[in-house]
Point group: C2
Chain length 508, copies 2
């Protein structure tokens, strides 16, 4: 990126300051989840609110708008619309318009009602009492619709698109549905096929004793092998695992260790590690930090990175052939009666269940599909909140073939809607589909990938991801990147090919 | 504190915001010392600088000055000059004047030159090359004198007082010297007396193996017994131990574990724990946070709290009589051949040495005395920087009776002067003296204190400190508090009575 525009330098410096503030907010959050003493909670809320206000103040500053307009008028910057700097400016404009379009009162109202609704949701879920939550969900939907109205542009086909755009820039509900429809059909068919098989894999290998500290050592061992840089990151313990790419040189992962099911922590570490490699691979140094070229494309692309390492690598036969002897060493004896094949099969079971966060690789997308369709209908007004439980249960029966015994394990199971997170769920499945489509290209670019994984050599894979995906920041939209890399628009085919191939073999 | 002034509410809110920013700076620093990945250092410097600038901006804001003046003109607030609110306003004025008196350029110059000088100092110390450091110390002294000129008020007798005032408000060099002179004489006499004894305590009990994790358990056990609230605080590991009372409900201690000398970590935990109890005892909740009534009086009073727990409690015979069985359990066998009396004697050795940070309870103050006199003479111009090594060595010969073999272990041993920390050293000794003077009053207020300590019951001592010292924040100056609590101005007598009584018995 070469240029001489003083306006651009000032613009970048303004954004760098905003990003520095934002990175402080990330540290406040990380610390709260990891090491903060309980009694600090009230002051931490004040600290977070202050930093958040200061960040927003800079992101929506009129001065930023002026600098941005000056850059946009400069043909040396925007003459070639495909140049990195022109793309950078396009994305800065996208962010600035978003940050200045929402009235302060609406933002405050969303935060206030969302916070109350979340408390009500906790209570309602515990009591499995949808009626209690219903008026709050109605309020949050109304506010979310107002938000979408403010954010809506000519490129948005329907209201939902304006919210989806926050998490998956450029995507539309119609496009997503056109990919999800065939996905749902083929997944349904596959699940029926597997369900009819008489022999299912055993879970015994997953339930051996495995000391938490040694689970931590195993997780770090695998993350190191993946190429995660511990000089520029950490792995800690939290209730809900996450990855925070909080600052240049500072990417922090978390996981949690359980007494039963040692691969849970392993896969959550690999999942967050996939996110972490993306964060560590983004060009955040120098003037870039704070500009879109240092940031991730979308939640869908981010999720493609985590799911690739967790599932495409981590649930492969080659991976287990490499890892099992190491896992046996870390476990200290309790795994000695099991083979790599035992582990490979155990972590590739597919079975419809009620709870999304516990779902396996095959059924997970059906949970997402149900939520996407319902929230889209709710926002459109095609579905009334009062009818949600019935529609939810009908959808679970139709797609997963199971009865939902109570709203607690049905439409009250997720926290997201209570604070207005609508348009977010589909990015989980987009991540799986992008991962699969990239995976086919990677295997053709690195023909010996299987044997590399079998030897624990992940360098070529990491380099490929660094060069093809991470290095660009937000230079391309997700759809552009997908077309560029794979030569095709996103489709469900690669994912279904991958899943059918693997699961049919495991269940043979 | 009851009042109805809107100006005061606004003033308090302004200060609360500044304190919230400052608390974020403390978290950035704590994280840097504990868990931050190495590669994050550059961004961390940016984050810290930004937060520091935002904090200073608020602390020196004209708006704050206006609100403060409005409060000062309100007789309902300042009518009784001894009322908590009037004292609060007096201290807010002190801070505001200090924060607005220094020209921005001088602050920047001090930071810039100080940062360079510190790097040169590292190098010079490693090479024991004073000539290399000399021009930088000269520059820092000149800048420090300029700083003192800016801060000087009519209450300051000499330039040094204006710097001392930053760390020990209200104290003057002349007062300190009047207490230090008799202290130095009696300490010198005591050391000569002990040095002539033929039998010295054995250190064997200190050098048994003690697993780091169990040292950590022991430290937490003692801190809990002291009354440190782990719901509102933590204990972690750093290279240089510290206490950060960073926010309401958030006081973090650090220590470090060594393979040899397990009482090092124990005493550093107790020392920081003493600071921590002060921080946890300050009234930081609600409107008070950010105002002087929620803050510590001075570094000297802060140090009196840490030294009281470390030395007056932690090096007492009663303490060891309580702790030894517990320590033996935590050590897992290696202490079984030793008695409480062995430990008590081992931790009460007195012997002149070269390095301040390794000095014992008796000789430590002589190290401080040397530094105080030299820095005072340097600032006054009575001592040229080129003559510092010679004067340093002469003072060590005179007061500690030892020859200094090189500047590395002589006048180059401390980092403080390199970044302009002048007027700070005496607070270490003031802390010891205040602790001793308070200790005599405590023992008369709690006559059975010895037997309480023998049973590990520290509640009454903690409550006394909470009520008599912590609860007041900065309502009183250190000298006022000392007079109020002990009925006398600060003197070296209580400290010398304590030390002579203990060490003569140990060396009998």
């Amino acid at each position: 990126m070469t240029h001489t525009s003083t306006s651009f330098d000032q613009l970048a410096e303004h954004l760098r300051q905003a990003a520095t503030l934002e990175s402080i907010g990330s540290l406040l959050n990380w610390d709260q989840e990891t090491y903060m003493p309980a009694a600090a909670a009230a002051c931490r809320a004040d600290q977070a609110a202050l930093v958040s206000a200061l960040t927003h103040e800079r992101m929506a500053a009129p001065r930023l708008g002026e600098l941005l307009s000056a850059c946009e008028r400069d043909p040396s910057l925007t003459g070639d619309p495909h140049s990195p700097i022109a793309r950078n400016l396009r994305e800065i404009r996208r962010d600035y318009d978003r940050d200045t379009k929402l009235p302060t009162e609406l933002v405050a109202e969303l935060a206030r009602v969302g916070s109350q609704a979340q408390e009500v949701w906790k209570d309602a879920r515990a009591k499995s009492d949808f009626a209690m939550f219903r008026p709050w969900l109605e309020k949050m939907l109304k506010l979310s619709a107002q938000k979408a109205q403010c954010l809506r542009t000519s490129s948005h086909g329907e209201l939902y698109d304006a919210l989806l755009d926050l998490y998956e820039p450029g995507a539309t509900a119609a496009q997503i549905e056109s990919v999800f429809t065939p996905l749902a059909e083929r997944l349904g068919g596959l699940l029926r096929e597997l369900g009819s098989r008489s022999r299912h894999p055993s879970s015994a290998v997953l339930n051996v004793p495995f000391d938490h500290a040694r689970q931590h050592d195993l997780g770090q061992f695998v993350l190191r092998a993946m190429g995660f840089d511990f000089d520029a990151g950490r792995l800690d313990v939290t209730t809900h695992p996450f990855c925070s790419g909080m600052a240049p040189g500072d990417t922090r992962l978390t996981t949690r260790y359980k007494d039963q099911g040692w691969t849970n922590a392993l896969y959550s570490s690999m999942h967050e590690g996939g996110h972490g490699l993306y964060e560590q691979g983004l060009p955040k140094l120098g003037q870039a930090f704070g500009t879109p070229l240092s940031q991730a494309i979308s939640l869908g692309i981010h999720e493609s990175q985590s799911r690739m390492w967790e599932n495409f690598v981590g649930r492969s036969r080659e991976f287990w052939s490499w890892l099992m002897p190491h896992a046996q060493k870390f476990a200290g004896g309790s795994l000695s009666g099991f083979s790599a094949e035992d582990a490979y099969k155990a972590v590739n079971q597919a079975k419809p269940s009620l709870i999304r966060v516990d779902a396996d690789e095959a059924t997970y997308n059906l949970h997402v599909l149900v939520r996407f369709r319902l929230e889209r209908a709710l926002l459109k007004g095609d579905l009334a909140v009062k009818d949600l439980p019935g529609e939810w249960n009908a959808a679970y029966k139709k797609h997963l073939g199971i009865d939902v015994p109570s709203d607690k394990v049905g439409c009250l199971q997720d926290v997201h809607w209570s604070f207005g997170l609508i348009g977010y769920f589909p990015t989980y499945t987009l991540g799986n589909l992008y991962a699969a489509q990239f995976w086919e290209t990677i295997n053709s670019d690195i023909p010996n990938l299987s044997s590399l994984i079998e030897r624990g050599e992940f360098g070529p894979l990491k380099s490929w991801l660094n060069q093809k995906i991470h290095a660009h920041g937000r230079r391309f939209l997700a759809s552009e990147l997908c077309q560029d890399i794979t030569g095709k628009p996103l489709s469900a085919d690669p994912f279904m090919r991958y899943l059918e191939g693997k699961l049919r073999a495991v269940y043979r």
